[in-house]
Symmetry: C3
Subunit: 416 residues, 3 copies
């Protein structure tokens, strides 16, 4: 009977992991729709192609090497993980039935798929920021290196048990490990490729470049919100007893509350600042609320989760405006949503998790940023010198779609 | 061992609740896409903004006060619930392990999130009916009052154990408590804001105003159908033994059968009445089938579920036509889908659930309608006198998008 | 306690089935979006209507008769199943608690809904191939016969325990039983209706007809990929112990790996062959990878799954080109994705499943193709002689939308 119970518990935790993975995988569609809606129609096919292929590249690179880098059986030290390939065998029944604290309680394969879709999410953040002016295949080469090595090393530092974990850095589901990390790479890429032609005029003039399909973008936001229940909820890693089930449920409530509050606060601030309720700010407000709560979705009360999310929503509006003032061209606001709000989220952990320290959070954030940013700059520099990063001015004017993919997103509709 | 079993059972029921909640949350995207596809392009951003923000407003208002109103620990009487704020602590392990009929068997937080997304769904019904001519922020103020008080009080009457529940009113997952309730508020709003300019010409002429993006609307229907498995399936509230698992499975089968039959019957009637197979009728037929079976998705055989859904599909086509004859302008057919079909659904309970009585169903329906309609009229009247409900004629001509949100949904496409 | 355990295990397996069914149901939306994005705007409403109604028709026909044909309690022989109507009662608690190998371990209703959505998927394959030139109601009549009889008989041969199963034909989740079967019917339909006007010019000229909405098509691919976790993962039919949970997790990993590899290989081949990274090839590459692994998603290592998927991705690009050379007009590439890749998938089983034999796989493939193709030709011939299959040339020029549905998909956008 004890064996029956252990087997059934293992099955439930594995199934919960797999359902969480499906939800996070679905976020790939969310990023694709969000970005496809927020770029111009002439660059839509290309951004769709990037989003589709980056998901595939990330899953493949993470399968071949990234997962083992991030979770090395035998790490070299707290900074350097190790290198091995593909996946080992899954847990045996005997190991599970042994019971005790060390016994596996869910399938290793389910852990892999859950982690793999996180790697893809990290890379999706980059694609939005460099939209409309970075060539497809150089981007994909960057995606390979990012998801095979750069992200997994940083992930190892915290979630693989490396030095940041030993230091006490607290990041439950990845406000920094995933979101700010992706935003750091995105910032490096934005600096390396430069702004879109015509975005910044003379005398500090900023030309808005509206997205071509706002319903698509809104769909993307809803998909991401839905997927986030898997992202944060699955990060509890267990559901099979009363305390764990309560924890997963609390994470769902807090994740939802923070997103809702982030959307509302961004809407209000947008209405106050611009006189209009800017839909892109509304969407990014929700996403910023989600990023903000991701570092600690369990410990806060729902009331505190609302406050954390609401502040995230305010921050993202200001950050988007500031980024433009700094001439950092981010067509979808990815750096603000995942980076600025991610930093807020990691320090907001201090309000509810007594294990977190200001210094621990600061070191984790700075180290993650430095690693992601510098490694990205190096890799992008090499790609720039070999493959080139950016299409010619004529190609950019014509649009990436014809150039890279030989087709149009909406070939039948007359364009202004 | 008994403790292990109770804990695992609690975990499974909680997880089932959470997955159901994710599916119902996803319906918010369904409503958004359906409505965004069925309005004109000049009002698309605004309806997207409404749908996104109403979900956030509903979740927030329900968290702060609505949930406690609907499920008061200590109600004043069967009509008046009580008032308290935020959420209490979740169940302790001790309470669960006590076992017995009174012991909690799933997380209270999972119940909250499941109920919160129901409140949002109720409000989504309103946004469709008043599309294209109600100002954004007045709508959101209405959403606050609706989801914090009006809907929860009515919900308390039935699901919180109030007077309608004591009376024997039977409404399993909310044909009336959610759908007709939302439609009643929508009807009030339609009467208060009036028809869109140009919809009804002189001499009883009805001008069709086609939606701008039918693929979006179709996507919305599929999302709603998918989400309905959580809506009805989760309303069983338990899955953890043979009888309950069979019940949830039967609900899935019946929900799907009713939707399918509703779609087919609406398609046939549309082809018969108009000579064409009107896609909007096809979509609304499926939704009407879903609404019809929602009052009792468990007791019918699948054959009966098909019939209930098929009648719902016929009713919605006739209701849409009739509503236009009555000059009640409902751009997406929300009142017909959720109201007319909801009334059919509540009386269809009499065919399979012997606990239901005609008088019980009638009183429940009339009382719910009266409460929702009158309260909505009052609140909307106050908003009209203070903030105003409707844009000026010029603003309406130009479109809500520029006016309210300062942007266009499809800025690059030339419009006829 | 034993009883408690059996009940909880039954509940978990049932819930896993139901969640899998939701994911497969969602594939109906995926097919709808993929096809709506890949046809011209003048045929978009009609293809949406087909996809919506075929799902409803399939579920209804499968409920009334198809399920019993496919899984007859009392088959006549290995070729001919039997005929009965609607569904019987679900399992009793007593039967479950009896335990042992013959005891039911999940709800029969959950099995039905899972199988019903498979029938719908089979039919969805056909709708894409005959898009833009087959009349709506004749198509739906074909859908009735297909999902009530033709598909269930063939399904019985393998999954219902008929002669192909007895012969040792191995097809885990339906590379042939579902995908190639659907493609065989699609091929028959393409031959019967002929190519779209203007697709093939004189002197072997092939005129590309681009799809009107590539973001929609991309969304469709993501939905299908997501749904495939239910399609393949649910086909394990059990999750409730360590070995089964590991198996479902391995299926998730392999399914994802094959899809990713298929997308990447198709992208590379497309870039190599055409000089451009064709998004439609990228999408179809992922789907081909998914179809390829569907015949055996459990036995391969993830590395082998990648190879199987990658070959599928290459095959689909070549098959699409070849189909056009043969003047078989398939607007979305459905026959290549589900047929050609399905055949590859069924023989790829030989690499990892030692129970499979070359002759068994060959006979299963040939018999399934012959049955589906010949029966489809016969039924379509009868429909052609009675209702007609194709609109007039003028109607086809004007578009199916106005003709069949009386409305346009994007009525406000000016068209080139």
């Amino acid at each position: 009977m004890e064996g029956n119970y252990l087997q059934l518990s293992y099955a439930l935790d594995t199934f919960y992991f797999l359902m969480s993975a499906v939800l996070v995988m679905w976020m790939a569609a969310g990023f694709a729709m969000l970005e496809a809606g927020l770029v111009r129609s002439k660059n839509t096919v290309e951004i769709l192609t990037k989003n589709a292929l980056l998901y595939s590249v990330a899953c493949t690179a993470f399968l071949i090497v990234g997962y083992n880098v991030m979770y090395p059986g035998d790490p070299i030290n707290g900074f350097i993980p190790n290198l091995s390939f593909l996946l080992g065998a899954d847990n045996t029944v005997e190991a599970v039935l042994a019971g005790g604290d060390d016994a596996p309680y869910y399938s290793g394969m389910s852990d892999f798929i859950f982690q793999a879709v996180f790697a893809a999410a990290t890379m999706s953040i980059v694609s939005g920021a460099i939209a409309e002016r970075m060539k497809l295949w150089p981007f994909l080469v960057f995606a390979v290196v990012m998801t095979a090595f750069i992200y997994p090393v940083e992930g190892y530092w915290k979630w693989g048990g490396g030095w940041l974990d030993q230091l006490g850095f607290q990041d439950f589901a990845g406000s920094v490990v995933v979101h700010m990390a992706g935003a750091s790479a995105a910032l490096a890429a934005v600096i390396m490729v430069g702004a879109r032609k015509g975005k910044y005029g003379p005398n500090g003039k900023i030309n808005p470049i509206p997205g071509a399909n706002l319903p698509m973008a809104t769909l993307g936001m809803f998909i991401l919100w839905m997927g986030w229940f898997g992202f944060n909820g699955g990060s509890e890693l267990m559901v099979s007893n009363v305390d764990e089930a309560n924890a997963v449920a609390a994470i769902f409530v807090n994740t939802n509350a923070a997103a809702a509050a982030g959307m509302i606060s961004a809407a209000l601030l947008s209405k106050f600042m611009f006189g209009k309720t800017d839909l892109t700010m509304v969407l990014n407000g929700a996403l910023a609320g989600l990023v903000s709560i991701t570092a600690e979705p369990l410990a806060p009360t729902p009331g505190l989760a609302m406050i954390i999310g609401a502040v995230g929503g305010l921050i993202v509006v200001l950050s988007v405006v500031l980024m433009d003032k700094m001439k950092l061209d981010d067509p979808v606001g990815a750096i603000s949503v995942h980076g600025t709000a991610g930093i807020w989220g990691i320090f907001a952990v201090l309000f509810s998790n007594s294990d977190a320290t200001f210094m621990g959070q600061l070191i984790g954030t700075v180290a993650t940023f430095a690693w992601m940013f510098i490694m990205s700059i190096i890799v992008l520099f090499i790609i720039k010198k070999t493959m080139g990063l950016r299409p010619t001015e004529e190609e950019e004017m014509e649009g990436m779609d014809i150039q890279e993919c030989g087709m149009e997103a909406y070939p039948e509709f007359d364009q202004k």
